[in-house]
């Protein structure tokens, strides 16, 4: 069994974000420069490694939907702004979910431009692991543009999935935009499909959004639930 999964299981919890990122990276998914800081002071130090501008997110096994309780700040430009943002988030979380235990802070480099896609995977009771890809961002539910396959898939099949998506046209260079790296997104689908197929303890995973641009496909948020 994977070491990260084993640890979380032994503590009877799902993966926290730094663990999910580490696991995703070990399966070949591309992540932006990031760092996990256990204390507020360390966060400022870690920011030097990640580089500004960056996004900062609270890490807590007690908080699943970070943005709902003000646990995410983006576009942080410097040390002072980072320290201020963390202090504010601490205050807010203490008010809204006083029992939540804060393990630290995730700092991630901001990725600009590109389209937002979603790559996810879950487990069907009868047919086993499946992988899903679709248009991401705030319009996911409005357009319902997703395609699903049994996992694992290989690159060719992942490219076919993208060809089936209506939003797949965005990748080819829509309205004069430069074509995006569709192969990189296809590789993310392949990696996600292998991640769920090879780890029976994973019930569900969500990479949302995956930022796709001419430069590649970068996972900006990772959630992995154990079952």
């Amino acid at each position: 069994m994977n070491r990260i999964i084993q640890k979380a299981k032994s503590e009877n919890r799902s993966l926290v974000e730094p663990e999910a990122w580490q696991l995703a990276a070990s399966y070949g998914l591309t992540l932006p420069p990031y760092a996990f800081a256990e204390s507020d002071r360390e966060a400022v130090k870690a920011a030097a490694k990640v580089g500004y501008p960056l996004a900062v997110k609270v890490v807590s096994k007690d908080i699943v939907h970070k943005s709902n309780i003000g646990g995410v700040r983006i576009g942080i430009q410097n040390d002072a702004a980072l320290a201020h943002a963390i202090a504010e988030m601490r205050g807010g979380i203490a008010r809204l979910t006083p029992d939540a235990e804060i393990a630290g802070w995730m700092l991630t480099a901001m990725v600009k431009n590109g389209y937002e896609f979603i790559v996810g995977a879950s487990r069907d009771q009868q047919f086993g692991p499946v992988v899903v890809c679709g248009m991401g961002g705030i319009f996911v539910e409005l357009f319902c543009d997703t395609v699903l396959r049994l996992a694992p898939v290989e690159t060719e099949e992942a490219l076919e999935m993208l060809a089936e998506l209506r939003s797949g046209r965005l990748l080819k260079g829509y309205r004069g935009q430069a074509p995006c790296d569709a192969r990189a997104l296809a590789r993310s689908i392949v990696c996600a499909s292998q991640l769920i197929a090879e780890n029976p303890d994973i019930a569900e995973l969500d990479f949302n959004p995956v930022n796709v641009s001419p430069e590649g496909a970068v996972v900006l948020d990772a959630r992995i639930l154990l079952g």
């Binding site: 069907d124 009771q125 009868q126 047919f127 086993g128 499946v130 699903l148 396959r149 049994l150």
Partner: protein, 452 residues
């Protein structure tokens, strides 16, 4: 589980346990249809009153027959089944079809288990219970209803007795016929995978029509379908796409319908050709009965009806099939060969005054060796369409699918003639294109299998 099911579909003697002389009763209908289908072997009605039923000597019990019985059809009430199955075992029966309902589908799982266990002890394979029987026209067997005898290349495996009977009925009415029909019922012993394996090696079966509401084992289903689909097309119709449809499936046959999107992914993985309506299901089945999988995704069209041609193009576009333009050389040759009012593009509009001969002339001007399909749309009465299609096939070497529309009595006669020659005919351009799409999709399945 690979014990051969040929004892069922190639039975040489049949007993009807629960045969009746009263019209309207299932035991009467089954006995009558077995006899009326012209079953060549002995038929034994089993009825406590014995005597004679429909002109056949009846017996008190299976044991009383004193001769081998391959297949026993059970129409007796559910509580009598375990005893009757025990008797069948003692009499050396090899296969059973249990029409009787009132078992696991209404919660009588214990009773059903006793019947199945008894059958298993004696090595009897069981279709059903709670099913509409089987037919096997090549062996003169119709242990089902309605009476259906037309021999042909399609095996129909159906959860719904009605959908199965409908598809078989249409195939027979169109002169195509079936190799077998099987109503799955509770599929407590023989399930869809056993049947797929059997029909995969059945020489009379060219393609398999599968109507299911759920599967027993997901992984086994995928593995079996992949293996079978590599050699024979499987066309599948699975109801329960909507949330309420799923609930209806659950109460109909206790099937776990599952997520429709996952099942579609299963179809992609396993190489199944999935239909999304009963009509599309039948149309695809018919295409595979008469045609071969096609290699290319290009459709060239010839039509006498401009309007029908546009509808066909729209459908092709929706389905991602290509309607390539004519080459300059083709246009030049067509210009010389056809009247000036013909529209020289794809679809090639031969216009309303065309006769069958003009289709042949036009086809002879096309570049040969296309990998896609030629769609011939005959609008209005065009006599001689079948003969023309045969000449076009010879001239182009292309696979041909037809649409015959608005042709009155000529349409009926020509449709029949075309299909007898092996050209599938559809009454609308959309249905013809959807059938072409099914042929193309299966062509991709076997090409991928070949390169895998």
């Amino acid at each position: 589980m690979s014990r051969n099911l040929s004892v069922l579909f190639q039975a040489q003697s049949i007993a009807v346990v629960g045969a009746s002389g009263t019209p309207g009763k299932t035991g009467y209908t089954i006995l009558k249809n077995i006899i009326d289908a012209g079953f060549p072997g002995p038929v034994y009605p089993i009825n406590p009153k014995a005597g004679e039923l429909l002109g056949r000597k009846a017996y008190h019990s299976l044991e009383e027959i004193g001769a081998p019985v391959d297949l026993a059809i059970f129409t007796i009430p559910a509580p009598a089944l375990p005893g009757a199955m025990e008797e069948a075992g003692a009499a050396g029966v090899k296969g059973a079809v249990v029409i009787t309902g009132g078992l696991s589908e209404v919660g009588n799982t214990e009773l059903e288990r006793r019947v199945l266990d008894t059958a298993a002890v004696h090595g009897i394979r069981v279709i059903g219970p709670n099913c509409q029987g089987i037919t096997s026209p090549h062996y003169g067997i119709c242990a089902s209803w309605p009476l259906a005898v037309g021999r042909g290349p399609i095996a129909v495996i159906s959860q719904s007795g009605t959908i199965g009977a409908a598809v078989a009925g249409w195939l027979i009415r169109e002169g195509i016929g079936v190799s077998a029909t099987v109503s799955l019922g509770n599929k407590s012993d023989v399930d869809e995978c056993d049947l797929l394996e059997y029909f995969a090696q059945d020489a009379a079966t060219k393609a398999i029509a599968l109507n299911i509401e759920g599967v027993r084992s997901g992984q086994r289903f995928i593995d079996t379908c992949r293996r079978v689909a590599a050699t024979k097309p499987i066309i599948v119709l699975k109801p329960g796409r909507s949330e309420k449809g799923k609930q209806a499936a659950a109460s109909h046959t206790k099937s776990v319908a599952g997520d429709a999107r996952v099942f579609s992914a299963v179809c992609v993985k396993a190489g199944l050709i999935q239909a999304d309506s009963t009509e599309g299901f039948y149309d695809a089945v018919k295409a595979f009965a008469l045609s071969c999988p096609i290699r290319g995704n290009e459709i060239r069209m010839m039509t006498s009806s401009g309007g029908s041609g546009i509808l066909a193009v729209d459908s092709a576009e929706d389905m991602g099939l290509d309607v390539p333009p004519l080459t300059e050389a083709e246009k030049q040759r067509l210009k010389e060969a056809l009247p000036s009012h013909c529209v020289l593009r794809n679809p090639l509009d031969l216009t309303g005054d065309t006769d069958a001969g003009r289709y042949v002339t036009a086809a002879q001007a096309l570049d040969p060796g296309h990998t896609g399909v030629l769609l011939l749309i005959f609008g209005d009465p065009i006599p001689g369409a079948a003969e023309a299609a045969l000449k076009i096939k010879a001239a182009t070497g292309q696979d041909i699918v037809c649409c015959y529309i608005g042709g009155g009595d000529v349409e009926i006669a020509e449709t029949h003639a075309l299909q007898r020659l092996g050209f599938p005919v559809y009454p609308t351009p959309e249905r013809a294109v959807a059938a072409i799409n099914a042929l193309y999709r299966y062509g991709r399945v076997i090409r991928q299998e070949g390169t895998a």
